[in-house]
Every structure is written in C-alpha cells, then in structure tokens.
C-alpha cells in the first residue's frame, strides 16, 4: 500500500511541522533556565521530551487515520499529536501552561488531550495501551469501523501493561494497532541491556497477532505496513503490532547531557536525519520540486510560528481555575 504523491507531501509537511515545533520548544524551553538550569523556570516549565528524529513513526501511521480514530500517545507526544491533527495553537498554549491550552493548562506537555480528534496521552510508560484497547472495544461494540492506535516506546514492551493489553486485544480481536517506536534508549539504558529479544515485533507471535518490523526509520515502508494493519483492523481482523526502528536525536529530556551515548552515535544518527532523507526522496522521485519544498517549508514554519505566538500572547489561567474540572 504505497502513498500517493499527495500523501507523501502530507507526510513530509507534517514531519516538518513537527520538527519546527520541536526546534521552537528546544529554544524556548531554555529561556530563563540559564546559566543555572532550573526546570521550574522560563516560559515552559517542567520536563520536556522532544521527538526530534522520530517524526516518521507518527506520519506513517496517522496518514491513514480519520478524526474518529483514537490515538493514545506517550510522554513524548508532540509528533504523534501533530500527525493526528491536534490543534497546534492550543497544544502550544497547553505546553506553555496557558488558559487557551487544550485543557486550560491542567495537563501540560505530557498530558495532551484533544477530544475533537480523539487524542489522549499518558506520561506513564505503557499505560496508554489499556485505553487504546478500550477505545477499540468501544468501536467494535458500536459497529463503527474506526480504529485505535497506541504509540509506545520500546522501553514500554517490558511493562506488564503491554502484555496484558496485547492479549486482551488479540483475544477479543479488537481494531487496535500497537506502534512501538524503537529509538533504542529507555532514558539512559539501552534496549540491548533491557530487552531480551532483538526485535519486539516477534513478541506479536506470543499473542497470535501479526508483528511487523520497519527498519531504518522509513516512513514509506511504515505507511505501507500501517495501511494494511489499519485496513485489517477496520475489517474486523484484529490487532497488529508494528515496530519501527527510529532515532532519538535529542536527549531523553531537555537537560539530559547524554553521557551514556557511545561516542559518535549522535553524529551517525544525525547523518541519517529523516527529514533530509524524506526531502531527498521526494525530490528524487519528482514528487516535490525545490520550489514546492520552499513553499511547504515556509508554510510549516508559519504554522509553528503562529502557534508559538498564540501561546506566548495568551494569558495564564486564573490560579483558582485549578479547582475546576476535577469532575464534569
């Protein structure tokens, strides 16, 4: 199932939006945090987990999704949110803790929720999987052919929730796709040191579902495999596990000195930057002209700039609004 030229451009554009968004986050996050790094300072306080380098994982899957399809994301959710169509301005405002944010500043960067496009998060490893399974159950019970996608990192496969969720999804033949973004690092512990199997896709066999491995951070190959998985799920054929080999070009979080990375690893990864590769691919294929590339790049940057401007210029919530929305 190969993407059309239009889909390829959509994927590229969303990768760019995601990258520019993360670059903006990276710069703004450090405002007020120097010379002494203090996580609570600056316009964006708290932890910040950037998804720079992992953009293909999100666009390759979300290119197939409709607003009614459900996505549950991780503590590193920005690329997934952007690809799912979460309102960029409101997401930026949420990350800034502003009143105009998705939840009025109650959630923050690790808790991005957008009911309009059925996007939810959990900051706890593997804990988005149960809700994705439940959303898929809901779709199945309603006779709706929408699906649910749970994104997770490769570190999450060692959690009980992963195994319970896969089993439940398989035994009930639910329309859910589990997408493992394997960036090979669980904070500072490598996958080789924490996971007994080389490819997590093989774990699918234990739950009698298809397991697919996508090498080399390849958005086109992922689009193909995800398309089949999603089509199968919509047709009632049950869940699929997809593992994508990807690259975390930033630290686990902002402020991570990455002393655990082997020498030269980051340079090697940066030489395989998926944005540059995607652009080259589209140009080589004749899908994209240099002029179109400029237009798409400017458009993506403008979207991000407007979102950041919206976030910066929005007001903070009244402090006592903290007391609201515990219950509906």
């Amino acid at each position: 199932m190969l993407p059309t030229s239009e889909k390829k451009k959509w994927m590229y554009e969303n990768m760019l939006v995601s990258r520019f968004f993360e670059e903006a986050m990276e710069a703004i996050y450090m405002e007020g945090k120097t010379p002494v790094f203090n996580m609570a300072e600056g316009p964006i306080p708290g932890e910040m987990h950037l998804s720079t380098g992992q953009e293909p994982c999100a666009v390759g899957v979300c290119a197939h999704l409709r607003p009614s399809d459900v996505v549950t994301a991780t503590h590193r959710p920005h690329h997934q949110a952007i690809a799912k169509g979460v309102d960029l301005k409101m997401m930026a405002a949420e990350i800034f803790g502003k009143k105009t944010g998705l939840s009025g500043g109650r959630g923050g960067h690790m808790h991005i929720f957008d009911a309009d496009v059925n996007f939810a998060c959990s900051g706890i490893i593997a804990q988005g999987l149960g809700p994705a399974v439940g959303a898929a159950l809901s779709k199945q019970m309603k006779g709706d052919d929408s699906v649910a996608v749970a994104f997770l990192g490769e570190g999450a496969v060692n959690q009980g929730a992963f195994h319970e969720a896969l089993n439940l999804a398989a035994v009930w033949k639910l329309p859910v796709i589990f997408v493992v973004e394997d960036n090979s690092w669980g904070i500072s512990v490598s996958k080789a040191e924490s996971t007994a199997v080389k490819h997590n896709a093989v774990r699918a066999q234990a739950y009698n579902m298809p397991g697919r491995f996508i090498a080399d951070n390849d958005p086109i190959a992922l689009y193909d495999v995800a398309g089949i998985a999603i089509e199968d799920a919509r047709a009632g054929k049950g869940p699929t596990l997809i593992e994508v080999e990807t690259t975390r070009l930033a630290g686990h979080f902002m402020g991570d000195a990455e002393g655990y990375r082997p020498d030269g690893e980051l340079d090697l990864l940066k030489s395989k930057d998926p944005i540059i590769r995607m652009k080259k691919l589209l140009i080589d294929e004749g899908v994209l002209s240099e002029d179109e590339n400029l237009q798409i790049t400017l458009k993506a940057q403008k979207l991000v700039d407007e979102a950041i401007e919206f976030a910066r210029s929005s007001d903070y919530p009244e402090p006592a609004e903290a007391l609201e929305k515990v219950f509906v």
């Binding site: 459900v70 944010g101 939840s103 959630g107 009911a115 706890i124 009980g160 319970e164």
Partner: protein, 337 residues
C-alpha cells in the same frame, strides 16, 4: 407490608445494572468471572442470560488491561461497569485507576468524560488473609478525581448504583462482602431490605441518619453502619440514645449532616474498617474540629482497624476488626474523660 420486596445488595446491584442496560445500549459490564458465574459476590448474576457475552464480558485476569480499557471505552462514549474482584488487587492496576480513570477529565479540561463505574469488594472477617480482606475506602477517597460510594443496604445499593452508572464521572462503587447477602460470607441480615422494583436514584453526597438520637453521633459506612446500629441498641440498654449516620458516599462527603448531628449530640464516634491512621476517621473528626470545635463536649473517638496487616487466624482477626462492643467501650471512654 403488602408490597414489601426484600433484596440482597447483590441482587439489587444486578437489578440496577440490568435496568440501566435496558435503557442505555452504551452500558456494559466487564471483569473477572462476571459472566456465567454471575460475579464472585453475585452482583452480576443473571445478566449474561439477558444481555449476552458481548455486553457481559468476562475478561482475562489482567486488571491493568481491562480497567485501562474501561477508561478508553468510557472516553469513547461507552459507559462501562468494570469489576475489580477484590479491592486488594488495586495494586496490580493502580495506574489505570488513579492516573488514568481519575485524572483524564482534568487533563482534558473536562472535554473528555469518563463515565465508568469501578465496582469492587472489600471487607474481612472470614479469615481470607491480608491480601483479600482490606476495605481501603480511604485510599480511593484520598486521591482526587473519583467519586466513592459505599452502600450499607440493598435499597441504597440499588439507588446508588443507578446514580453511579448515569454519572459522567468515574465512580468507585465499594461493596462490603459481608453485606452482599451471600451466605458463605456470613451475611449481615440488616442489609437485606425492601427494594422497589422500579428505577430510582439516590444522590451522591447525601448522608442518611439511620437512627435518630440525642446523646452521641456514631458515623460509619458499609458494615460500620450495622456495627453502629448494634452498638446503639447496646447503648440504649444503658440509657444512652445514640444517633447513627450512614455516610453512603465518601466522595462527595456530606459534612453538613455529620456536623449538624454532632452539634446536636455533642459527642462523636467514627467507625471504620479501614486502617486507622490517615483515613476516614481522621477526616470526619477534622471536619468537626475545623468547623466548630465547640460542637464537641468530649474528645471524639474512633473505632477503626489498627495499623496492621489483616491477620489470618480467627482470634487475631476478630481482635482487630471493629465491632459493636468496641463502639460501646469507646463511648464509655469518652464519658470517663
């Protein structure tokens, strides 16, 4: 009474669930052994025959997955009722409960609703040991974002269940095993009461004065209410007229009814089968102390479970559990001061 129809709590929970399932296709039940077995405590008995195995859905023993799934289904517009067989098992799935179920409304600024009911059993007294006998009311009431219900009789159990299912927020519905009407659990007869067949709701946050009195207020939930009523009878023999308050819901908590009762009687005993420290007993006493400490004519007392794991051996467990005699003794102690 001509129209009297007595139900156990188990049957009244099942009846409320069935009635809600008939009026709303989005309501479904899932959990361990809730299908053909009808629930270990009987509260889903008969439902699979009427509604089938899609809406009365047995799960694998994997609480993290199915409680997490209930959150996802609820956010997607369904109204799941999910059973955690023993409240003690929350340890294996607590993230799904307090980080997902209880917080996703807040994280979404109220744009996602999480209309689910987590029903779970609590209570000891039958030597099931320290991992199958806790009540843990305080744990769930302490953590924000979930309503916490605990009926003491079948009438309340039905009305509170109907309210819980219709609520757009997560509700933890805690039922005490000894009140279920299952003979093998040493059933408390006082919980089996007249229960109307028609649908009705009981609002959350409204405590009930189950016995009026003038000398001391005894506050409890679940089995504690029955211990309080029995203690009130014993106290009556000594010429003491006790008022017994059934909180019915812990979140929201009807602090006004408790305060007004204490203002009237001047004396307070709180009964709780949960661990004493940092729990319901302290919360109720603090409520009075904060509002107007002069309402109290003597130091309040608590009859709670001591801060120890629940022992297996019968004499030790009985020593540790609250009972009517302990409440009477607490009153005597209060009057000695």
């Amino acid at each position: 009474m001509e129209n009297e129809r007595k139900l156990t709590i188990a049957r009244s929970m099942a009846e409320a669930t069935a009635q809600e399932m008939r009026r709303d296709d989005d309501v479904f039940v899932m959990g361990e052994d809730i299908g053909k077995l009808g629930g270990v405590y009987g509260n889903t008995r008969g439902l699979i025959e009427e509604f089938g195995s899609s809406r009365i859905r047995d799960t694998p023993i994997s609480e993290t997955a199915f409680i997490g799934a209930a959150v996802g289904a609820a956010q997607d517009g369904m109204r799941p009722i999910v059973e955690l067989m023993f409240v003690d098992f929350f340890g294996v799935c607590f993230d799904a409960i307090y980080n997902l179920m209880a917080k996703n409304i807040y994280f979404s600024g109220g744009k996602f609703q999480v209309p689910m009911v987590l029903m779970t059993s609590g209570g000891g007294g039958y030597s099931d040991g320290g991992q199958h006998s806790q009540v843990l009311y305080g744990t769930f009431a302490h953590l924000p974002g979930m309503k916490v219900v605990c009926p003491s009789n079948a009438y309340d159990a039905k009305g509170l269940m109907t309210t819980a299912i219709r609520d757009n927020n997560p509700v933890v519905y805690m039922y005490h095993k000894s009140l279920q009407g299952m003979g093998w659990l040493g059933t408390e007869q006082g919980a089996t009461v007249h229960t109307p067949e028609e649908e009705y709701t009981i609002p959350f946050g409204v405590a009930k004065i189950v016995k009026e009195g003038s000398d001391v207020t005894i506050v409890g939930v679940g089995l504690g209410v029955h211990n309080g009523l029995k203690a009130a009878k014993l106290l009556e023999e000594k010429g003491v007229n006790a008022e017994v308050v059934d909180l019915r819901t812990l979140v929201p908590l009807d602090r006004d009814t408790v305060f007004n009762s204490v203002k009237k009687t001047g004396h307070l005993i709180v009964v709780d089968e949960d661990y004493q420290s940092y729990g319901l007993t302290g919360e109720i006493i603090a409520t009075i102390a904060e509002r107007d400490i002069t309402a109290l004519k003597a130091s309040p007392q608590r009859v709670a479970y001591p801060d120890i794991p629940i022992p297996f051996s019968r004499p030790m467990e009985r020593f540790a559990l609250p009972n009517p005699e302990k409440i009477v003794n607490a009153y005597a102690k209060m009057k000695e001061q």
